[in-house]
Structure formats: structure tokens, C-alpha cells
């Protein structure tokens, strides 16, 4: 378990943190995820990568945690569509830098869009693996990422950055 934890806990933490946006909660998630793994090791049949299995459990736990949060009181669907439109004090400076603006706009995507962008780009999951983690058909995975990227381009455009796409 220590080996497994050492290998995967940082990525599990980052994936959870991007979903729940609360470090304390994301740390609690890690414990819950790996405890579930400890309890359910027999259910792992080696049909997918261990990391894919862990991310699927993390996603489920994160959504459950968000639903439990009293202050949120949102169902999964509305959590998925929520967007963070707040600016931070560094925005003015960052707007001049495409890389910073991109990162800022990535944070502004809805949870549903953030999730798919992270799974494909950061966690390097294939179409099939993302479909397994999120629980949607493979074609939906492709179109969801396409529209996530389109939304990202719109947010960048609002920040005054044109990238030639779309």
C-alpha cells in the first residue's frame, strides 16, 4: 500500500483538488480513495491501468464530497456546469501573458470541462480510459473535450487573447 500510495498520491491529490477546489477536502479524499483501494483490492481485475482505476474512484469520491458540502447544496449536474468567473488581483498583469492567461482561463472552465481537460492533457488518459473514468461514451468524450476547448478559446478571447482558433 505504501508503494502504491507513494506512486500515485500526488496525481490523485491534484485531480481531486481540481475537482473540489479545497486542499483540506482534497487531502481527505486521498485517504478515502486509498482506503477504498485497500478494502476493494479484489475488485481490481487488471483490465485498466491502476491510475485509471484510482482516478475513477477519486472522481466518485469528489462528487460525493461536493454533494455533502452543506454550503454547496448542489447536485452533480449543477456542480458540473458551475463556472468560476472571479478574477484575482494578478489578472491585470497576467492578461498580457498568454501562458498565464491560459492557466487562468483553464481555472475558469466548468468542473465538467476542467475534468476532461485534466484527464486528457495532464493524466494522459486515452479516449477509452476517460470514458471509463467519467462514465460516458467515447464519442461524448471527444466532443466534450472539443467544446471544453472551444469554451477555453472564448474565455481567452474575453481576456483579449486571440490564438487563431476557433
Amino acid at each position: 500500500m505504501q508503494v502504491l500510495y507513494g506512486r500515485h498520491h500526488v496525481r490523485v491529490f491534484r485531480f481531486g483538488l481540481r475537482l473540489v477546489r479545497d486542499e483540506q477536502l482534497a487531502e481527505d479524499l486521498i485517504s478515502e480513495v486509498f482506503l477504498d483501494v485497500w478494502r476493494q483490492a479484489g475488485k481490481f481485475e487488471g483490465l485498466s491501468a491502476v491510475s485509471t482505476w484510482l482516478l475513477a474512484i477519486t472522481r466518485f469520491k469528489a462528487l460525493s464530497a461536493l454533494r455533502r458540502r452543506k454550503d454547496a447544496e448542489l447536485d452533480e449536474e449543477s456542480v458540473g456546469s458551475i463556472e468560476d468567473t472571479s478574477d484575482d488581483p494578478e489578472v491585470t498583469v497576467q492578461k498580457k501573458d498568454t501562458g498565464s492567461a491560459l492557466r487562468r482561463c483553464l481555472n475558469k472552465l466548468s468542473a465538467e470541462h476542467r475534468e476532461i481537460v485534466d484527464l486528457v492533457y495532464y493524466h494522459e488518459k486515452s479516449v477509452e480510459e476517460v470514458a471509463g473514468i467519467v462514465g460516458i461514451p467515447e464519442n461524448t468524450v471527444k466532443t466534450r473535450l472539443f467544446y471544453a476547448r472551444k469554451k477555453l478559446a472564448e474565455l481567452l478571447k474575453e481576456s483579449g487573447i486571440e490564438r487563431g482558433w476557433p
Binding site: 505504501q2 506512486r7 491534484r14 487531502e27 491501468a49 491502476v50 491560459l102 466532443t143 473535450l145 476557433p166
Partner: protein, 232 residues
């Protein structure tokens, strides 16, 4: 060019266009990857779109890497929870062992290689903890079952005083690097972490003060070591 891009967006995206992000991440099958490569070679507009995706890919990685790592609290909480389940573990030890055998069979060779080095580190750490336990009990002694007098039949097994230092590792030090460093210096972790410092015990007990001072200097120059000081 911008107008042409907009025209593409207004249409349904092509299959190839939808696959571009996975091509950038290197997670497409060889067949799909070849199809995308061919399309990129003959379609400059698609190639420009791909450049935009590469930028998104790089920034997404940067963003995630900037999130840092969880504190030790998460690990402590996890292992406390596992320790709280002794009955279940004891009852199903056999099946659990076989389940984990299957579980680790699912790991990739790269993961297994990494795990092996981590396992080696765990062994070193365990050895250090056992050493610390022995030291905390004072000089160990051996007694026969029939004669508990602590006089002549006991044999002192206490370790000769070995060089000892406190070390703080760099925040980005990896377990594999630490294990390699311990191996290089023939050291083991005897205690810690306490306020971020680990107590290291060195195997060579015959080291003179000057030699030990030189060893500490070399240790301090290691990339993964932030601080190394001798302890009395």
C-alpha cells in the same frame, strides 16, 4: 486565416480534429496517430490548430504541477484507518495477499521498476526504524530463559557509537533519489522526520572526526540535501 478557422468551427469537427488533443498527449493508438500525422502534413489549417492544442497541453501540465502535493496528514490518516481494521485483515490475510498479487500484476513495467526502488527505500527506512527502536531501549542484552541475572551470561549487543547527522531533504527530492543517497553514504534513517529533519546513522563507525566532517560537507553539496549537520 481567422475567417477560415471560424468556418471550420461552425462546421461539425472532423474525426481527425477531435483526436488532436490525444495526439498531443501521445495517447493515440499507432494507427490513429499515423492518420493524424498524415492529416497534419497535408492540412496547414489543421497544423495551426494543433499548435494551439500543444500550447493548451503544456499550460495544463504547468497548472497541475503548480498545485503541489498533499501534506503528511493525508498519509497518516490513511494508515491510521488501515490500522483500525485489524480484524478484517487478520481474517482474510491469505485472500488479501493473493488479491494484491493480482493487483500488482496490473502495474506497468515502468511502474514496477519505480516501485522496486521505492520498496528498497522502504526496507532501508524499516531498518532505520528498527535501529532507532533498539537505541531507544538502551544497550540491548541477551538473557537465557533459565538465568535472568544480568551478570556474566549476558552479552552486550549495543551498537558502537556510529556517526550520526541530521538532514533536511530538498522539497522536490524523490524517494528513489533518497534511497540512492542512503546507499551511496552507507547510511540509514534512524529517526524523524522531526520538523522536517531526518536523523541519519552512518555504517562506518571507524570514521575519524575529520573524515566525518568531510562526509558531511559532501552530503551538504548533494542536490537533494538542503541541510546536513552533525549531532552530538
Amino acid at each position: 486565416m481567422m475567417a477560415a478557422s471560424r468556418k471550420i468551427m461552425e462546421q461539425e469537427p472532423s474525426d481527425i480534429e477531435l483526436l488532436l488533443p490525444w495526439h498531443a498527449a501521445g495517447t493515440l493508438s499507432a494507427r490513429d496517430s499515423r492518420k493524424v500525422d498524415e492529416a497534419l502534413a497535408r492540412n496547414p489549417e489543421l497544423a495551426r490548430h494543433y499548435a494551439v492544442i500543444r500550447e493548451e497541453y503544456a499550460e495544463t501540465i504547468d497548472l497541475n504541477e503548480s498545485l503541489g502535493a498533499p501534506s503528511a496528514r493525508a498519509m497518516q490518516k490513511l494508515f491510521a484507518a488501515i490500522d483500525a481494521e485489524p480484524a478484517r485483515r487478520a481474517r482474510s490475510y491469505g485472500s488479501l495477499a493473493s488479491r494484491f498479487a493480482g493487483f500488482f500484476a496490473g502495474l506497468s513495467p515502468r511502474t514496477l521498476a519505480w516501485s522496486a526502488s521505492l520498496g528498497a527505500f522502504a526496507l532501508v527506512l524499516q531498518a532505520g526504524l528498527v535501529g532507532m527502536l533498539l537505541m531507544s531501549r538502551g544497550p540491548a542484552s541477551f538473557e537465557t530463559a533459565s538465568f535472568s541475572n544480568n551478570a556474566s551470561v549476558t552479552r552486550d549487543l549495543g551498537a558502537a557509537a556510529s556517526p550520526h547527522a541530521l538532514v533536511r531533504f530538498a522539497p522536490d527530492a524523490r524517494l528513489g533519489d533518497i534511497a540512492a543517497l542512503l546507499d551511496k553514504y552507507q547510511a540509514s534513517i534512524a529517526e524523524g522526520p522531526k520538523e522536517g529533519m531526518f536523523g541519519l546513522r552512518f555504517a562506518n563507525t571507524a570514521t575519524s572526526r575529520d573524515e566525518f566532517s568531510g562526509l558531511l560537507s559532501r552530503l551538504q553539496r548533494e542536490k537533494i540535501v538542503s541541510l546536513a549537520v552533525a549531532t552530538p
